[in-house]
Amino acid sequence: MKMKACQAMVECLKAENVKVVYGYPGAAICPFYDALMDSGIRHVLVRHEANAGHEASGYARISGKPAVCIATSGPGAVNLITAIATAYADSIPIICITGQVNTDQIGSDVFQEADITGAAEPFVKHSYLVKDPNDVPRVFKEAFYIAGSGRPGPVLIDMPMDVQNAEIDFKYPKHAEIRSYKPTTKGNAFQVKRVMAELEKAEKPLICIGGGVFASKAEEEVVELAHLMNIPVITTMMGISVFSDDDPLFYGMLGTHGVRSANTAVNECDVLFLVGARVGDRAVKTPLALEQNTRILHIDIDPAEIGKNIGADLPLVGDAKDVLRQLIERAKPMEHKEWIARLDSFRTERVFETPRKGTVDPRQFIDKLSKAMPDDTVVVADVGQNQIWTATGYHFGKGGRFLTSGGMGTMGYSLPAAIGAKMAAPDRPVMAVCGDGALQMCMMELATAIQHDVKVKLVVMTNNRLGMVRELQTRGYNDREIAVFLDGSPDFIKLADAYGIKSCRVTDDKSADEAAELLKNYDGITLVEVRVDENTATL
């Protein structure tokens, strides 16, 4: 069928069953926006392009499919880069469509021209600068395939304006044929056998799960295998909420900011089975020591992750879901009574502090929230102390979901990602938790939520400080505190009023209970400001 390439772009999105896109228009992307108008695809106007990427990221993580964000050429495209890098670090499939100046102007520094494919290259799984309009259907098919398959990641499509306006004969390909891209999904049967033999032989086996479990949708499989063989489980930050915190085999998050039970488990186990976890430096500080004392079995769909940060005694390249299925078929019931009893002895109850008057212990408030909120709540933590408080303090029930920017640690991720998550799962409560620092990096998105009636709940922990950096300065730089005070911040309740959204402030136990009730029961955009003691430690 003959049509303009910009219409073909819309047809491609329809063929990929895209229902919503996040973006910000500009001159160079106008042809595509014009074609989008009568398409039935919902467009969400963000207030900053980086948030278009984060919203797509939140949507992709909850829907399990690549999500789309759009920006214009030059500054619009460049603003997307933070979101692209954030998605890349956490292996989130997003498709970024950017406008570009006319092909005959590329390279001449015209108005709003930026080499976005060049600038974003380190952070994309793949990118295209489309110069032939006839390539549009193939490029889109490939982009969705590449973003969502193998180890997922962001794919960028840069579309010059004249290419968007050119006429083409549109036919959407059924399959993407890329001879140089064939991700391994099926685990090698021989290696699977060897992994099982190691797990059976182990006296103190431990499973460490990462974000790869979500990427391969292997949540059920990993729970099933752990229970079949009675193997204790710990998680990286990216794997939080795969296991319910009520699960007796689950010992929490490991790492610099992890909990004692998880860190003891990883130090004492004899066989460590890594599933979709890349052993980032925040999870394992001294991989060499671990390598020497422990048999490491490592499943990852990305061969480059195996042996990158930690040496594996037994590598297994494949999709976690498939590999775990194969393992479950071979698994025999086992007990590890002594080992489990020992780990149980390291479980610690959180002790809360008496906070300064007019504030609450943030960890206690998080604990209260997790008791109040329904089990299927999606919790999006920002970056800083609030991330750690939420990651280790929120008690996830069955069916809950935790999202955060784990790899890149991008401040301002929580609110936009929550908006995307809520749109992917309108029936689930979605709650963002952030600090007063991060909120001021993304609070413009409150307008986006209001404009599109996306009922997100926002918890802002305020201490008028960049708490985590301040803690670093206190401990590592002799109390020399610089550039960590947020004087000049607005009154957040008045800000909520200005936006016309419901809000309340938490300053003591009573108001904390009321806030938890409000977050639980009120189905609308909510902002809860929680005054927290500035001296509360991260851990």
């Binding site: 290259e121 380190p122 140089s180 480059a304």
Partner: protein, 165 residues
């Protein structure tokens, strides 16, 4: 340790920058890089000489393989490939030195490609080590300019990029 890495890539614009970008951002050192089309116009072959230990080379291979446009990567061991590099050197060459330099050229299997009243330009194609020795030998005459292509390499015997012997 030096490694010879052979890479088949889609002959698209931008591929080379993806590859060089990957080397720089991952902290891999490139000694030389040579690229050109193959008998299949859609495929280019790149030969990279890189410095690093076994772990680094393994990571280079894996990271290269992750690039969508990379079709095949192989690290070629010294004894399983022929490696060659082309070099051209312009030397100071007054008339009284001409015959001496001609003798050097003959002994080293270098070719004289250009002569002027004051200079001579030599061309030599050989392995990396031989080129290094050649530079030592001609340096005393005064090197005015020197240019080299970077090493290219091909497997010995019937072995190809697709199939090991």
């Amino acid at each position: 340790m030096k490694h010879t890495i052979s890479v088949l890539v889609e002959n698209h614009s931008g591929v080379l920058s993806r590859i060089t970008g990957l080397f720089s951002r991952r902290g891999f050192n490139i000694e030389s890089l040579a690229v050109g089309p193959t008998h299949d116009p859609e495929v280019s072959r790149i030969t990279i000489i890189a410095d690093g230990d076994e772990h680094t080379v393994e990571q280079i291979e894996k990271q290269l393989n992750k690039l969508i446009e990379v079709i095949k990567v192989r690290t070629l061991k010294k004894d399983e490939c022929f490696a060659r590099e082309l070099m051209m050197v312009k030397l100071n060459c007054p008339a009284e030195k001409r015959s001496e330099i001609m003798t050097v050229a003959e002994m080293t299997e270098a070719k004289i490609v250009d002569v002027t009243l004051t200079t001579v330009t030599l061309e030599i194609c050989a392995r990396y080590n031989k080129l290094e020795r050649f530079i030592e030998i001609v340096a005393p005459y005064g090197i005015i300019e020197l240019v080299r292509t970077g090493t290219i390499a091909i497997q010995k015997g019937a072995d190809t990029m697709d199939r090991k012997k």
